[in-house]
Assembly symmetry: C2
Homo-oligomer: 209 residues x 2
């Protein structure tokens, strides 16, 4: 398994390479990647070696070849179907409506909530909000691979019990209660506070310099 | 400067140590940290050495001492005031209402939006939504240190121009347009898709095993 930090950099390279490809740029150097992305150039060279892409000295790396290689490593060759739990809530709706997912191979294919006033209503252009009680059936019928949890902390344990029965293999959890991966389900917990703490660290560094 | 991945681990240690302290636990071993947090134990030992905390072999590390040291490194000894731009939107409101920030030293101290129907209305328990035109004045008056950007991509450039004039030192950007740090402002761009790609990688690894 590759360290998380390396995988995160792969996502950053992928976004940049997609941009270059859109602009019709064919070649990129490891230095260009380092400068544009604010990364350490020795780290970038190490990553490119890991990727196995052999660029030619002085010529650079093929943008398309690098991108396709990263798509393969990240398992993005096929569309990954995601389901949003808590879809009628603020965070759930914002995530369901976010157009960035589609551009990067993730398709919101199911919306779940427990609020009877919202079940049956539509998020325009995305789909109909279903009852959380239908989770197991719909995950199997539609082949949902990742469930995104945006429910209040009071509901997260009971929701996770339902998720375990659904057969899904991956969960992205935004509720502030750490869910633990099982043998069958890989869990990633997200907390924006970590991003704020990274900024606070940088503020502290600039204050004490 | 410490690498971003190390800073991210500091946040993870901090959350866990806060939990231990709440439960009245006085000591923790590097092994315990590694197992509970799913980290590599050599990495944890390296981090603890970096923190300079001298645990006694066989006894472990003081939970309070470790936590206080991390709080100092992350610059969290004082409350960091944050402002939310796009506060009337789905993501902006979800972030403003998120109780997790307060527990970790971040206080939502200003709410901004451009939608005249929302300006003057209140987010219960948080505050009044102000006009984006007041950004400069309010950032100075209230000593806002971090601005969180949750506006549509069509508005993000013009909002960043206003931010540059406000004197704020740090920005957390959720809009899908990469903002670049300046000499005075440190920017952190957030994209949940990166989290989904990390999960997709793990799914691919488990599929090919
Ligand atoms: N990780 C972070 O940094 C961060 C930031 C913001 C919000 N959050 C968290 O995200 C979650 C959602 O926040 P929000 O502001 O959107 O809340 P919200 O109240 O607007 O939305 C919650 C939704 O979950 C639904 N729900 C409740 N119980 C359910 C169940 N058992 N099954 C299915 N749906 C259920 C509700 O009906 C509602 O639609 C909260 O846990 C909040 O703490 C985390
Ligand atoms: N990074 C991610 O993974 C991710 C996920 C979800 C949403 N998003 C992004 O977050 C942003 C907000 O999403 P949302 O669903 O909350 O959208 P939304 O339309 O619900 O909210 C946007 C808010 O910004 C306000 N606004 C527009 N122009 C403004 C300006 N010049 N100054 C101040 N306020 C202004 C609007 O009035 C509205 O209240 C979008 O850019 C979206 O793409 C990112």
């Amino acid at each position: 398994q590759t360290p998380q930090a390396t995988i995160k950099r792969m996502s950053i390279y992928l976004r940049y390479l997609n941009g270059l490809d859109n602009d019709g740029i064919k070649l990129v150097s490891s230095n260009d990647l380092a400068i544009k992305l604010g990364l350490n150039s020795a780290q970038v060279r190490k990553d490119l070696t890991y990727l196995g892409e052999l660029g030619r000295r002085g010529v650079g790396y093929s943008v398309k070849k690098l991108r396709d290689h990263i798509v393969k490593i990240l398992g993005l060759k096929t569309i990954r179907k995601i389901g949003i739990i808590g879809a009628a809530g603020r965070l759930g709706t914002a995530l369901a409506m976010y157009s960035g997912f589609e551009k990067r191979n993730f398709k919101v294919s199911a919306l779940f909530d427990s609020n009877s006033a919202s079940i049956g209503s539509e998020l325009p252009g995305i789909g109909i909000i279903e009852s959380i009680e239908e989770l197991e059936n719909i995950v199997r019928e539609r082949g949902i691979e990742i469930l995104v949890v945006c429910v209040p902390v009071s509901s997260v344990k009971s929701v996770f019990e339902k998720i375990k029965k659904s057969g899904v293999k991956a969960v992205l959890n935004f509720a502030p209660f750490k869910l633990i991966s099982t043998d069958d389900i890989c869990v990633q917990n997200v907390d924006f506070t970590t991003e704020l703490e990274a900024l606070s660290y940088k503020l502290r560094v600039s204050e004490t310099e």
